[in-house]
């Protein structure tokens, strides 16, 4: 009696007339609600998927990693777009080595360690 309600809840084939007859009684309607509640009671209680907590942590770290990647990529793109073009081009074209302030010439045979000769301190 009323097992048509179980079949209905389980998405199994059922006789609509039989279900209608079952739900026409207060007992049938009460049973339907109790079985829906039973499903809710059983699922979260002791029978949660064992991987649920681990999966939760994985999702958390996955989201955190994705957010970090997005932030870094956004920063890179914004930086590229907001930097004046001239900075990069100047760096490549106009920066040259400074002019020398003094020039040393190496003369073969000269003793550079002799402080008595001219130029030493």
């Amino acid at each position: 009696m009323h097992d048509v309600i179980s079949a209905f809840l389980d998405n199994e084939p059922f006789d609509p007339a039989e279900l209608s007859a079952s739900l026409a009684t207060p007992e049938g309607r009460d049973l339907l609600l109790d079985l829906v509640a039973l499903r809710a009671v059983v699922q979260p209680a002791g029978l949660m998927p064992v991987s649920a907590p681990a999966r939760g942590r994985l999702v958390y770290w996955g989201v955190a990693a994705a957010a970090a990647v997005v932030i870094l990529a956004s920063g890179y793109v914004v930086g590229r777009q907001s930097a004046p073009d001239s900075v990069a081009s100047q760096a490549a074209t106009t920066i040259t080595a400074p002019e020398p302030t003094s020039v040393f010439k190496f003369e073969p045979g000269k003793n550079w360690t002799d402080s008595t000769q001219a130029g030493g301190n």
Binding site: D10, A37, G46
Partner: protein
């Protein structure tokens, strides 16, 4: 071998949930699921249809759970109820009550209920796994629910005090 791996991966979550309900202990369920995998991997041929394969895997799991019960002589689960989720005293209480209620069912009633309710098998798959007809499964699942309804009246009443989802599946 790759086929066995794929089949096991597809069934794993439901398998562990079923075994956790059948033996009342999550870690043991994980170990037993590995035993199931060993047997699945050792098979020379697999059933032809997806439904047949799932039923076959759960048939193996059921046998392993029965063997486990025989070895452990474990007929009630008061002492090995699952650890509660962090900070969830109510959940722990409910888990204890649910496990006690499941333990009060006969083996077949508990198995068909768990295969349906926590592993999501169809009546046809459960029938194949338990070597019964789909009509017999329908009847047994309903009877199991009626028994659980009696045992779990308090949490059921509490659940009915809040909005619910039908959860048809």
């Amino acid at each position: 071998m790759a086929e066995s791996h794929a089949l096991f991966a597809a069934c794993h979550e439901g398998l562990v949930r079923y075994l956790a309900g059948a033996v009342g202990h999550r870690e043991t369920a994980r170990d037993l699921a590995q035993d199931v995998f060993v047997r699945v991997a050792a098979a020379d041929t697999l059933p032809a249809t997806d439904e047949g394969r799932r039923a076959w895997v759960f048939h193996i799991a059921r046998n392993i759970a029965i063997d486990h019960h025989r070895r452990q002589q474990l007929r009630h689960v008061e002492g090995i109820v699952e650890e509660p989720a962090a900070g969830a005293a109510d959940s722990a209480d409910t888990a204890l009550i649910v496990n006690q209620a499941l333990a009060s069912l006969d083996d077949l009633a508990r198995d068909v209920f768990l295969m349906r309710e926590v592993a999501g098998l169809s009546y046809g798959e459960i029938a194949e796994a338990c070597h019964l007809t789909p009509d017999a499964i329908r009847s047994r699942i309903h009877r199991a629910r009626l028994q659980l309804r009696k045992h779990l009246q308090r949490p059921i009443t509490a659940a009915r005090a809040h909005p619910m989802r039908a959860g048809l599946r």
